[in-house]
Symmetry: C2
Subunit: 385 residues, 2 copies
């Protein structure tokens, strides 16, 4: 039996992972400070799906973990003592670190939000590195990074260090990062700190450069509305496909940003959970800092918008794509070729095709139409950079 501690267990990914692993017999513990709930409220939105409150959720999770010594705590990992106590109690074999502020636009709103993002993410991660060293140096840290750390370089993106030849000499070096928001900057900072900690202290970690996740349901939570995960559609916490689906469902135009020529890696929620499960089951060596690029395939934003439009029409929903001015400075139309071999080598095979996932998502969202309509003002981009 593997003991897994999920930091950020209440979030979009943390909760489904907890349900999935619990049902598979892993001993799941977790902590959260409910930051996601608070910040989505702060930007004037709410989860489209109705999710249970903290106490009810963790009663349900305790039930799924019956017979295990699961620990669920509400605290922020920037509090070192609470984090250390939690790890001592949970005694994890693997720690999945999702406890971060996950929004690029939120981090760009102003100095308050940028500083909050840095403290929450970078100090939280730094505390975790030290707490692991002190409490559980043999545990495997599964850290959620982002494909957005790389930016959009004009050369292939390697998976981990890249072999570079320069002025006639060679070395294997960390891949150069070009993050596009302060949120993405914090992910880069975490990667730098973590790689050093593995080198110096023999910690083992997988740094997941994850693409954009979409969808709302996984098999482990189907048939039990109380196990549903959150679904955000606002400009800050709603990611591209999810936002498009929400727009289609309420009869609003689907709005890619700018020409929509941005290429990004995407994967359905189910695949994200399956991949993390695979990673937990295949830890790296002691002292190894392993980078995994985690996505199903690369898609063009405009093509995705059109695909959502098509699927919506198939469901009898009249949808249309209407691009809006890009609120961000980013390349629209660019080379993009990230390697993603390691998960396939570990046994990853995509759970379903993207159109099927989008269709499933929209059918669930149709039940949540009123809740989306109530916060529809939060969808249009207001944060510019």
């Amino acid at each position: 039996m593997t003991r897994v501690a999920i930091l950020g267990i209440d979030g979009y990914l943390g909760w489904p992972l907890a349900v999935h692993l619990s049902k598979k017999g892993y001993e799941v513990s977790g902590c959260d400070d409910l930051i996601r709930r608070r910040l989505v409220f702060e930007v004037g939105s709410n989860s489209a799906t109705q999710i249970k409150n903290w106490s009810d959720r963790y009663c349900a999770l305790h039930e799924l973990n019956k017979g295990h010594d699961s620990v669920f705590k509400k605290f922020n990992i920037t509090n070192y003592k609470e984090l250390k106590d939690f790890l001592k109690e949970a005694q994890p074999d693997a720690i999945v670190h999702f406890a971060q502020m996950p929004s690029a636009p939120y981090s760009m709103k102003g100095v308050r939000e940028a500083v909050f993002t840095h403290i929450n993410n970078v100090i939280g991660n730094l505390n975790l590195i030290f707490a692991m060293r002190e409490v559980c140096p043999e545990a495997h840290l599964v850290k959620l990074g982002s494909m957005g750390e790389y930016g959009t370089p004009n050369i292939d993106i390697s998976e981990g260090n890249f072999e570079v030849e320069y002025n006639g000499r060679k070395d294997s070096l960390p891949y150069p990062k070009q993050p596009g928001s302060f949120y993405h900057c914090t992910k880069v900072h975490d990667s730098v700190n973590l790689q050093m900690a593995c080198r110096f202290w023999g910690l083992k970690a997988t740094d997941i450069m994850q693409g954009v996740v979409f969808g709302v349901s996984i098999p482990a939570m189907e048939g039990d509305a109380g196990l549903m995960t959150r679904f955000d559609f606002d400009e800050c916490f709603g990611t591209a496909i999810n936002r498009f689906c929400a727009q289609a469902v309420i009869g609003e135009p689907i709005t890619p940003y700018g020409r929509g020529g941005q290429n990004r890696g995407f994967l359905p929620l189910q695949d994200s959970i399956n991949c993390i499960n695979l990673i937990i089951d295949h830890p790296p060596e002691k002292g190894e800092y392993r980078v995994i690029n985690q996505f199903e395939d690369v898609y063009n934003l405009f093509a995705l918008a059109l695909m959502v439009e098509k699927v919506a029409k198939g469901l009898g929903i009249s949808a249309r794509v209407v691009p809006v001015d890009n609120p961000r400075i980013e390349q629209e139309g660019h080379y993009y070729n990230p390697v993603h071999k390691k998960l396939l080598e570990l046994g990853y095979s995509p759970a379903s095709n993207i159109e099927f996932e989008v269709s499933k998502t929209m059918r669930i969202l149709e039940e949540c139409k009123e809740r989306i309509l109530r916060c529809k003002k939060a969808i249009a981009p207001k944060t510019q950079w």
Copy 2:
């Protein structure tokens, strides 16, 4: 007349730069939170040179800036409002940012020190980026980074982006960083944040990757003991050559770490000040993030220890080199070839040779022997990683 605001004006570099620029007719303002004084005390040491207290120093500096609207404030730049108010009052053309925790060993002592270093350095720098955008977007930010950001790659180190060819395609990318302490990590984080801010907001900045500075006196402060800068020799805040000089002067063995085969860039204090003056006089374009590798030449640590021994003997001081176990994980004996052309193009020519500077330093330190002896326990390395 150029208005220069020095953040961290009370430190080893900040103070001599303030004296140097004031005497040359620049309008100098500055702020500091006296962190350096406090932390050196915390690690059980003190400046070898006797420096004036904050009030007396800034009376002296006001005197040198007579007729100017100089502003001197005591606060920490992690306080955004105080920073903004200071910049509004000082109206700088150039901002020299030295207000950071500068010690690798201190940052590696434990979680408390690592977190302090991150908050002080990364949040301080982030506040500065936002405050500049709000108050003085046209000012030139001269940010002190470190050659230690690069680590010791097996290929040449470029000065700014490097042209890389990979799998048959080319791009100009940020140079991969491999910092060797949490302190150096914070400098890398700052570089990432700053480069992005220049790109998005049109700020202009010079990120100085500085080598190890040594020495204690510059012409502008000679002949006036009240203008003397601090000189640290403890394991945390004393850099290699300075520590060697202090050891020689009090008759203790000169202790390079390990085999001493580490190669690093070095420069005398006078050169550091001259280079920063040059950089202030030659700002980059709006939106430009300029990287400058700032050092006189690359030296081998063991060779430097022998050089200090030789110079000491020439002054009649009986000194000897006795290597100690390396308290750090670092390469000893490695390729090291950082480009450093930009300062030479701006007109930098080394002020004097390294042996002369070491000799001058030791003669000054001989007057401070009692103060060094009082804290000599602080010299030996205790922080390991």
